[in-house]
C-alpha cells in the first residue's frame, strides 16, 4: 500500500482542559521517574553498606569513635518537622492559592538553608575520616549521597521562590510546586534509614 491511509475525522478533543493536577499531570510522572532512579541509588548504597558491615568483624572497627548524636538529632528533628510546612505548601499548591504558595516556598527555602547549615556541622561530628577504613568510607558515602539531595532540593526551591515572587503564577507552576514538595518528602523519607544506619547501627552491633 503505497498510498496514504484513508482517514475520517470523527470528533474533537478541543473541549479537553489544557491542564491537570497530581498524577494526571505528565510532569508528575517525570518526577516519579527521577525519584525511582535516586531511590534505587539510595537502596543500593544501603545494600553496599550492609554488605561491608556483614563482612567486618567489628562495626565500627576498633579505634573508630561512634558518631555524635547531637547535630544529627537536631537535623533529623528539623527535617521531620519541615514536613508540616511542606505538606501545607502542597495543599496550597493543589488549591492554586498564589499568595499562600509564595509564602510557603519562601518558608521552605529558609528551612532548607537552616538544615543545610546543620548538616555541614553534622559532618564535623562523624568522628571518622572517609579514608580511615571501609566503615568510614561507607558512612561518608551515605552522608554525601543524602546531602547532595538536600542541596539540589534547596537550589530548586530557592529558584522557584524567586520565580514565583516575580511572575504571575499559572497552572503549570502550581504543579511544579507540587512536584518540588513531593520531592522534599522523598528526601525526608530516605533520610530515616540512612539516619538509622549511620548513627544507630554502630551502636547496636
Amino acid at each position: 500500500m503505497a498510498t496514504q491511509k484513508e482517514v475520517s475525522v470523527v470528533g474533537s478533543l478541543a473541549d479537553l482542559p489544557d491542564h491537570a493536577n497530581g498524577a494526571r499531570h505528565l510532569v508528575w510522572w517525570g518526577n516519579l521517574g527521577f525519584m525511582l532512579i535516586e531511590g534505587t541509588g539510595f537502596a543500593l548504597a544501603i545494600a553496599a553498606y550492609l554488605y561491608v558491615l556483614s563482612h567486618s568483624s567489628a562495626w565500627p572497627p576498633a579505634g573508630d569513635a561512634l558518631p555524635d548524636l547531637g547535630w544529627s538529632g537536631v537535623f533529623t528533628l528539623g527535617l521531620l518537622l519541615s514536613e508540616i510546612p511542606n505538606l501545607w505548601l502542597l495543599r496550597q499548591a493543589r488549591a492554586k492559592k498564589e499568595q499562600a504558595v509564595r509564602i510557603g516556598i519562601l518558608l521552605m527555602t529558609v528551612i532548607g538553608v537552616g538544615l543545610t547549615v546543620i548538616r555541614l556541622l553534622e559532618f564535623g561530628h562523624l568522628n571518622v575520616r572517609w579514608s580511615a577504613d571501609g566503615y568510614g568510607s561507607m558512612v561518608w558515602l551515605l552522608m554525601v549521597l543524602h546531602t547532595t539531595h538536600v542541596f539540589t532540593e534547596l537550589g530548586e526551591t530557592a529558584v522557584q521562590a524567586l520565580w514565583l515572587f516575580t511572575h504571575e503564577v499559572g497552572d503549570n507552576q502550581f504543579s511544579d510546586v507540587e512536584d518540588t514538595a513531593n520531592y522534599w518528602t522523598f528526601v525526608v523519607l530516605f533520610w530515616l534509614p540512612i539516619y538509622g544506619l549511620v548513627y544507630w547501627m554502630p551502636r547496636l552491633s
Binding site: 534505587t40 553496599a48 498564589e98
Partner: protein, 637 residues
Amino acid sequence: MTFALQSNEPKTSERHARLAQTWADAPGIWGFLTTVDHKRIAARYILTTVVLLFAAGMLALHMRLQLSFPELKVLGPQGYNEAFSLHGSTMLFLVSVPVMEAMGIWLVPLMLGQRALAFPRLAAFSFWLYVGGVMTLWVSHALDITPDLGWFEYPPLSGSAYSPGHRADIWAQMITFTEVAALAASVNMVATILKMRPPGMTLARMPLFLWAMLVASLMTIFAMPAVMLVTSMLISDRLVSTVFFAPTQGGDILLFQHLFWFFGHPEVYMIFIPAVGFITAIVETFSRRTIVGHTAMVLSVVAIGVLAFGLWVHHMFAVGLPKLGNSFFTAASLAIALPAGIQVFCWIATIWSGRPQFYTPFLWVIGFIITFVMGGLSGVMTASAPLDLQLTDTYFVVAHFHYVLVGGAIFPLLGAFCYWYPKATGRMMSERWGWASFLLIVGGFNLGFFPMHILGLMGMPRRVYTYDPSLGWSTLNMVATLGSAIAVLGGLIFVANAFLSLWRGAPAGPDPWGGSTLEWAASSPPPQHNFDYTPVVNSIAPLWSEDPLRMLDGVGVSRREVLVSSLAEAHPEYRQKSAQPSIWPLLAAIAVSIMFIGSIFTPWAVVWGSLPIAGALTAWFWPQRPRSKTGPLRVRV
C-alpha cells in the same frame, strides 16, 4: 467512546501548513543546535552509533588480524589490551544501549500517533550528554590515554596502585556520561508510553514494541544507578583515598563485582528486549497477521525483565561463593530460557500460520532466530556453575557473548533498520544489495565465531594477544579471522546501500510493507509534527482493522500541544503544552561534561562544576510568563 463533534477547525491542507509552521525548527545551525524534534535527535543518535560501530569493528579486525597467525606482531600486548577494551566498551556502552534508546526516541511517538515525546528537551539533553561520553572515550584514545582493562574494570587492577595515570578514570567517567544519558532517555520513554497513548490504545491493545521499550526503560531505571554508584566509588577510591574496595583496610573487593553485575547482566536484556520488539513487528508485517500469543509475549518480556535482576551472580561463579548461592543462580539462569523459548515459539507459530514474504527485514528475523538459539544453547552450558568454572575466560565465552549480542541484538537492529528505513527517509533500500549484505554478514559471522567455541574447548584463553604455534590453534584462528573480515565487508555493503538509497531508492510512499501500527499512517518521511490529527485505535493492529482510520481534531494547531491520556484505559485527559526548541539542553550538557571531566582530576570540580549546571538548568526550566503585578517583587512601571 463518544467525542464532541466540532469541525470549525481549519480544513486539511491549511491545517497541515499551520501545524508545520508551529512545529518548525529555526533554520540552519541554530535550528540544529536547539531542535527538540524526536526524529532529528534520534537520527543523530543512530548515525553516531553507526560511526562508532564502524570504528569498533575496525578495532576488532585489527585484533583478528593479530590473531590470524601465531606470534604475529601487528599489535603488541599493550595495544591488544587497549583494542579489546575500547572495542568492548564502545560496543556495549556507546553502541548497543544508545542505539536501542535512539530507536525508541524515534519510533515511540510515531507508534502512539503523537507529535512529540513527553519531555522533548530531555531527549536533546540525553543526546548531547551521550556525545560527551563518546568524546571522553575516543578523544582520550586519540591522546593515547586509552582504557586498557577490558569492558569491566575490576579493582584492585583498576585501583591507583596498579593503574596509575588516568586510563581507568576515563573508562569510569565515560560510563557515568552514558548512564545519565540513558536514564534521561528512559524516564522520557516510560512517561510517554504510559501517559501519551492515543484514545482506545488500552494497555491490552499496546503493540509489543511499546511493551518492550517500556520494560527495557524500567530495567534501565533500576539497573543503571548500580553502575553509576560503583564507578563513582572507584573514582573516589582513586582520587580521594576512600577504601571501598581495599580489603586490607576493611573495604571489600567483591562489592565492585556485585554492583557491576547487578547492572551488567540486566544490560544484556536491556539490549535484547527492544530487539524482541523489532522482531515481533517485522514478523507480524511480513506474515500478514498479528502475533500468535500476544499476551504470552507480553508476559514473557515482563518475566525476562524481572528474572534478569536475579542473575548477576552467574558472572562470578569463579570467585568462590557459598555453594547454595551457586545452585540458586544456576537455577535462575536456566529459568530465563523458558520465557525466551516461549517467544521463539510464538514467532515461529506466527510465521507458520501466516503468509511469509521474504523481504530483507524478514531475512534478518530468520538470521536472528537461528543465531540466537545457538547463543542460547551455549549460554545454558555456561549457566551451569561447574561447567562455567572450566570455560570461564576462554574463547568459548567470547563465542557465546558474540552470538548473543550480535545475533540477539545487532541482527534484529539491522532488520529494524531495513524495515523502518522507508518511513524515515521516504525511499526504499535495494533488495538485491540487502540480500548480499545479509548473506555476507550472517555467513561471515558464523564462520568467524563458531570456531571460537572449539578454540575455547581446546583451552584458548580470551584476551591473549598471541599464542604458540605448537598449541594447534592456528587453523581455527585463521578461519575466525576470515569469517570476521567477510562479516565486516557485508557491514560496509549494508551501510553503502543505506547511503546510496537516499538518492537512488524508489519512492516508498507512506506504507510500503502494509504495516499494522500507527507510524505507517504518517507520510514518509513524517513531517515535523508527525500527524495532522489524533488517531483513535480499536485494536492492536489499527491499520488492518480500521478503514478508514478514525481521527480526532482539537489538539493545538497554533501552539505546540500533545494529548495526555489515562494510564490503563488511555482515556483522553488533557492537552499538554509541549516544549519549544531551546539551546539550554546543549549548554546544560556542556556544563555537566565539564564537571564530569574535571572530577577526574580534582574533587572540587564537583563543587564548582555544579554552579554552571545549576545556572543552565534554571534557564532551561524558567517558565515564560508575564511579570507579577502583586507582592514585594512585582513589576514596577
